[in-house]
């Protein structure tokens, strides 16, 4: 059992992957908690798919891939908001349309520009191909995002709990919403190299929604989500190494397994245990 854990640690690539995995396991559940409580988890899906044209164009023009991804992700959320100014169109339709259009645009641009981007790695993740630079970038983004959340925790709590009440109380809710969108986009950009754009949503949503079943306060949801996120990342990495599985897929499946355990536990608790 100990060899199962220790053997991979002899390799640099695995150590880098473990560090990034822990970092993402901390970052994604914290940010994902806000998506879950606002019932905006689809927005994470939109952004993660919408980054593709940004990545292709950034690669074509020789710019930083993270910059291209960030700009494309931000543009997609702006488009969703604009579409929703037509009240007949519900959020899910606006998101589905934007997600598919941006993703298609990315695929088309990749073909037209004869992009040399490793699309498979971007879509499905390549945690075991993480470099030291990737590790540092992920760490810096994680530190910035978590610092922003800590400094604005009470405002974010009020806004995500009662946006109308927050606006009535004089909080700058549009700025707070924009800030949240930026945080989510940064998180996805930081995570996409490791778990891939298609599966990053599982890291954003899975640990957070699992914790949501079990706790009563937002900060507890974040803390437990972090524990679950780190656990699923590390164990998923080990399984990926030993069983030769794609790392993103292994992590996503493990995340869902933890959710099922929590769901069954909650179901049993609610059925057989009466609160005082």
């Amino acid at each position: 059992m100990l060899n199962f854990v220790l053997d991979p640690l002899h390799y640099d690539f695995f150590r880098n992957a473990a560090i990034v995995g822990v970092t993402i396991g901390i970052l994604c559940p914290i940010v994902g908690s806000y998506l879950v409580v606002q019932r905006m988890t689809l927005l994470g899906n939109v952004i993660s798919h919408a980054v593709l044209p940004g990545l292709v164009l950034a690669n074509f023009f020789g710019l930083d891939l993270l910059l291209g991804a960030f700009l494309a992700g931000s543009l997609s959320t702006g488009l969703v908001s604009w579409i929703q100014t037509q009240p007949r169109i519900r959020p899910d339709a606006a998101m589905a349309l934007t997600l598919s259009t941006f993703f298609a645009l990315g695929v088309a641009l990749s073909s037209l520009l004869d992009s040399r981007l490793d699309l498979e790695a971007l879509l499905f993740g390549d945690l075991l191909g993480v470099t030291t630079r990737d590790t540092i970038e992920t760490g810096v983004i994680t530190a910035i995002v978590i610092l922003a959340i800590v400094l604005h925790y009470k405002e974010l709590l009020f806004y995500t709990f009662d946006p109308i009440g927050a606006q009535a109380a004089g909080l700058p809710t549009r700025r707070i919403h924009l800030g949240l969108v930026v945080i989510v986009t940064l998180t996805i950009v930081a995570s996409m190299k490791t778990v891939g754009v298609l599966l990053v949503v599982s890291m954003l949503v899975g640990p957070a929604v699992t914790a949501y079943l079990l706790v009563k306060e937002l900060h507890q949801m974040m803390a437990l989500g972090v524990l679950l996120g780190v656990l699923s990342n590390l164990v998923g990495l080990l399984l990926s190494y030993h069983l030769d599985l794609p790392s993103g897929a292994a992590i996503a499946i493990l995340t869902f397994a933890l959710f099922v355990i929590a769901f069954l536990w909650t179901h049993w608790r609610d059925r057989f245990h009466v609160s005082p």
């Binding site: 019932r39 009240p87 009470k154 405002e155 709590l157 109308i164 009535a168 009563k216 306060e217």
Partner: protein, 273 residues
């Protein structure tokens, strides 16, 4: 003084409110009454600048937009996500968010204010419960405690007595009267009828515009009610002047104003929210 001048609200080309002009003084408990879709909630949201509106709303001759901290809002229960992971105590504490400023946690004073508000509404012992675990009346009291913790001068409440138990109702009514006696401006959007309206110093009957504004006996006339609710409603057992009904004393049945549809039409219902 809260002054509304020619306030109109429009949603997707449909006028919800037209040219509402009201002056609300301190030390008044004001009830907004009217049928469904009359614009009662829209009026409250217009005061708070939560909806696009024309006209002006000033508090002590200054625009309300720069005085949000002085206005406390208690929303309808249907607007709240009761599954949100937050305890009753932290829900009340959010009232102090704007007071604290950015990049700071809640001070000991802020926590003391929240505690005092919760004790006044008799929900302090429920402080660690997740808000979804509370009864309807307890939830409403938590949100009233939040409004109280804001230490505002104006209180806008949207159907605070909808679906609450008797104990909560009594606590809420006492609080409304206390706020009035403390020279606050208290505006309550309500679907109540009968004796419950007697606590209001002033009623404003609305149906897209102000139909009547004054004491309950001057507002609740057959003519005004017909204009608001249409034909088929008539008053039963209305006497003047209305008196406050104290549930601990003998009920004064002569002060009740009831509505009943003509016998060939359906029974009257509480206008649904």
């Amino acid at each position: 003084m809260l002054d509304l001048c020619c306030v109109s609200v429009q949603y997707q080309g449909v006028r919800a409110l037209t040219d509402v002009c009201l002056t609300l003084d301190r030390g008044q408990l004001i009830g907004l009454v009217g049928p469904n879709g009359a614009g009662k909630s829209s009026l409250i949201k217009a005061i708070l600048n939560l909806v696009d509106r024309s006209g002006t709303v000033t508090l002590d001759e200054r625009p309300v937009t720069c005085q949000s901290k002085r206005i406390a809002y208690v929303p309808q229960r249907s607007q709240i996500d009761w599954y949100y992971p937050i305890s009753a105590k932290n829900a009340v504490l959010t009232a102090q968010t704007a007071h604290m400023g950015w990049w700071r946690g809640f001070s000991a004073q802020a926590k003391a204010i929240a505690r005092a508000a919760m004790e006044r509404l008799e929900v302090w012992e429920l402080r660690d419960r997740q808000i979804g675990e509370l009864s309807g009346g307890q939830q409403q009291r938590v949100f009233l405690a939040r409004a109280l913790a804001q230490q505002a001068d104006v209180f806008l409440l949207d159907e605070p007595l909808g679906g609450v138990d008797r104990q909560s109702e009594q606590i809420v009514r006492e609080l409304l009267e206390e706020l009035r006696d403390a020279h606050k401006i208290v505006v309550v959007c309500t679907h109540e009828w009968g004796d419950e309206l007697s606590i209001y110093d002033r009623l404003v009957l609305i149906d897209g515009h102000v139909i009547a504004d004054g004491t309950p006996e001057t507002v609740l006339t057959p003519e005004h009610l017909t204009r608001a609710y249409g034909r088929g409603l008539r008053l039963v057992g209305c006497t003047h002047p209305p008196k406050t009904v104290d549930p601990d004393r003998q009920t004064d049945t002569t002060s009740t104003t009831h509505l009943r549809r003509n016998r060939h039409e359906s029974q009257p219902q509480q206008p649904a929210s």
